[in-house]
């Protein structure tokens, strides 16, 4: 991979000032400095500590991170399905087409759910209601939101199932979720999320529960749908392979914050945060057969006791004294990238 083209020094990722950008470039969905706490038996866990990202129409943003880094919590907060309590949103903003969501009333948020921003969950078996047919669950939104008749809703459900590649959709529409295979269930879930033609689709680890071969099929399906409908897709995953294939941009999360953000090729070629670097080094590669796999040492921090300074410093191979005291902000770098490492520039040279 060659050096990335040096972009203009524009602070695209972190600045709150939007500026008059072109309509095509205006983000569909924007998350800014989102902060969420969970009140647990062991104290207050700071699950999100200022998360900012955005997605534009026709763009796929991959949110990457270990489990517990706050990927799903961010998504659930965007959808407004966070369990409050124990969770508490302590700050930040979520904007859909410029409209502030966190201060919007529940009725408005409900209107947006499914219709404008839809979500696909990780485990379709538990995410689908076991006692209703797949067709009922897909058609339910059409009946309650679009006032469709039972028959029309069912016909539309068949179309949607057909579209996501379920063979014999007409017969399968009356099946129950447990009668589907894992891959088919996830397809049905995708069909359900598309029922109201949303503009933004959040896919929370949509393939984690599936076999590897099925994983690829589902990812292809999602990518196709995203391209066809010009949707903004937020893909939450910890699978770097998936990311490389379908994402346009990547946001890497660690301990409830974004530590690095940027274009997928640039980020893979030249990570600007030691955590990203370590993540990439942990992938087995065909061309490095025989060399030892580089696991990241240590464990992610307990969110009730996030270390002082840079939260990654106890595990960081490049740790310096200053890292233990200074919590580095996410700073813009050339090429529309951003990193939360004090030595991001240095990493670029190494």
């Amino acid at each position: 991979m060659s050096t990335p083209p040096a972009g203009p020094l524009v602070n695209t990722e972190t600045s709150a000032a939007p500026g008059p950008t072109g309509l095509a470039d205006a983000p569909l969905l924007e998350v800014e400095d989102l902060r969420v706490e969970f009140h647990t038996r062991d104290g207050v866990a700071s699950v999100l500590n200022g998360v900012s990202y955005h997605v534009r129409a026709g763009e796929t943003l991959a949110v990457l991170g270990e489990s517990g880094s706050g990927k799903s919590v961010t998504a659930n907060t965007v959808m407004g399905i966070l369990p409050v309590p124990p969770a508490r949103i302590t700050g930040g903003a979520i904007r859909y087409r410029g409209e502030e969501l966190l201060t919007a009333d529940e009725e408005r948020r409900r209107e947006l759910r499914g219709e404008h921003v839809a979500m696909i969950f990780q485990d379709a078996l538990s995410a689908l209601n076991p006692v209703f047919t797949v067709g009922f669950q897909i058609g339910e939104q059409l009946r309650t939101r679009r006032g469709m008749s039972r028959r029309d809703a069912r016909a539309r459900a068949v179309e949607l199932l057909d579209m996501v590649g379920i063979p014999g959709a007409k017969q399968r529409v009356t099946s129950f979720p447990h009668e589907f295979s894992g891959g088919m269930r996830q397809r049905a879930m995708i069909a359900m999320s598309l029922a109201l033609d949303p503009d933004v689709l959040i896919a929370d680890e949509p393939t984690t529960a599936l076999d590897v071969t099925v994983q690829a099929q589902i990812m292809d399906l999602l990518a196709d749908i995203q391209r066809e409908r010009e949707m903004g897709l937020i893909l939450i995953t910890h699978d770097l392979g998936v990311v490389a294939e379908v994402a346009d941009r990547i946001a890497v999360m660690y301990a409830g914050r974004i530590v690095e953000q940027g274009d997928v090729h640039q980020l893979f070629a030249e990570p600007r945060h030691p955590y990203t670097e370590a993540l990439l080094a942990s992938i087995p590669r065909l061309d490095s057969k025989g060399t030892e796999l580089q696991a990241i040492r240590g464990l992610p921090p307990t969110l009730t006791r996030i270390p002082s300074g840079c939260p990654f410093h106890p595990r960081c191979p490049r740790v310096r004294d200053v890292c233990r005291e200074t919590d580095p902000p996410l700073l813009a770098l050339p090429g529309g990238r951003a990193s939360a490492c004090l030595f991001a520039e240095e990493l670029a040279q190494s």
Binding site: T40, R41, P86, G298, L299, P301, I306, R315
Partner: protein, 313 residues
């Protein structure tokens, strides 16, 4: 400076603070539950009540110097007064003394019946769950048969059948009541134990222990019992309260304990005919009964909540 929770796995634990943190994080379910319990007001209330009742049962003479079986017909059914706080019963016996002495029988019946049920049920359940196959099916069917008998009716049949054979002795009658309660209730513990044992059997760590050549006895004692004991104990606590109530119900129906024995159930049973004129005859033993059952139900509730990580927030 270094936060103890971020101890890296490839380095030995460095500071004492870090060691302590590691210990608190890996505390066992039991220790966790105990930690949780001590902070529940309901648990403290229940435990205190039960403690007080146990003292009453063990040393009734500390609380009253009156003989609970001596009656004076001239003061029959007198209401509560300074000499007799709870009044006198139909035969002029001191209700306070009888209530205090009744604690012992009621608690002993409850404890023994629970022990019986837990031991019998646990052994059957462990065998059925561990061995499996036809033996499991057979034991499960036997449990079904006993479970199919409605409790009160089954108890009536058993008690009236053996009434003659045990005679009039206190131990005989009490033993019969305990045996009856146990006989009709063991399928519940058996089922709890069986499903817990089956669940434990298919756990990977038990499979691993087996593969490593651990004998059946070791697997049961070291791997299955610790995981099955919690649900059984929770049931046992609640059941203890229920059995004390059951003893009273059976006495009330006239098939349980009888006169030479002093128990709350016997007292309530004797009070039946004088409800209109002398409600105190029902009130005091009934009140003690309710408080005791309540204490055990509360305790069982608290223990279950403490052992159920799902219920925590």
């Amino acid at each position: 400076m270094t936060d103890p929770t971020t101890v890296t796995s490839d380095k030995p634990v460095a500071s004492p603070a870090a060691a302590e943190a590691a210990v608190t994080r890996s505390r066992s379910l039991g220790a966790d539950a105990w930690y949780d319990l001590r902070r529940r007001p309901l648990f403290i209330v229940a435990a205190t009540l039960i403690g007080a009742l146990l003292v009453l049962a063990a040393f009734p003479q500390l609380f009253t110097s009156v003989d609970p079986t001596v009656g004076d017909l001239s003061r029959a059914r007198q209401g509560p007064s300074a000499e007799a706080w709870f009044g006198y019963d139909n035969l002029g016996r001191d209700v306070f003394a009888r209530t205090i002495y009744g604690t012992r029988v009621s608690i002993v019946v409850g404890v023994l019946a629970t022990t019986f049920v837990v031991l019998l049920g646990a052994v059957m359940g462990l065998i059925a769950g561990f061995v499996g196959g036809w033996l499991d099916s057979l034991l499960a069917r036997i449990a079904d048969v006993f479970f199919g008998v409605p409790f009160v009716l089954g108890a009536i049949v058993v008690l009236s059948t053996f009434r003659q054979s045990v005679g009039q002795s206190v131990i005989g009658i009490s033993g019969l009541v305990i045996g009856t309660i146990g006989l009709l209730s063991w399928p519940v513990t058996m089922r709890i134990m069986r499903s817990a044992a089956i669940a434990a059997r298919s756990q990977d760590y038990v499979k691993a222990a087996r593969a490593l050549g651990a004998g059946p006895w070791r697997i049961i004692v070291r791997h299955m019992l610790p995981n099955t004991i919690a649900p059984v104990m929770v049931y046992a606590t609640i059941a203890l309260g229920a059995f004390i109530g059951a003893e009273a119900t059976l006495s009330f129906l006239g098939v349980g304990l009888r006169d030479p024995v002093v128990s709350w159930g016997v007292m309530i049973s004797e009070a039946q005919s004088y409800l209109r004129t002398s409600p105190h005859l029902l009130l005091f033993p009934g009140g003690f009964l309710v408080v005791t059952v309540l204490a055990f139900v509360l305790l069982g509730d608290a223990v279950r909540d403490a052992f159920d990580p799902k219920g925590r927030s």
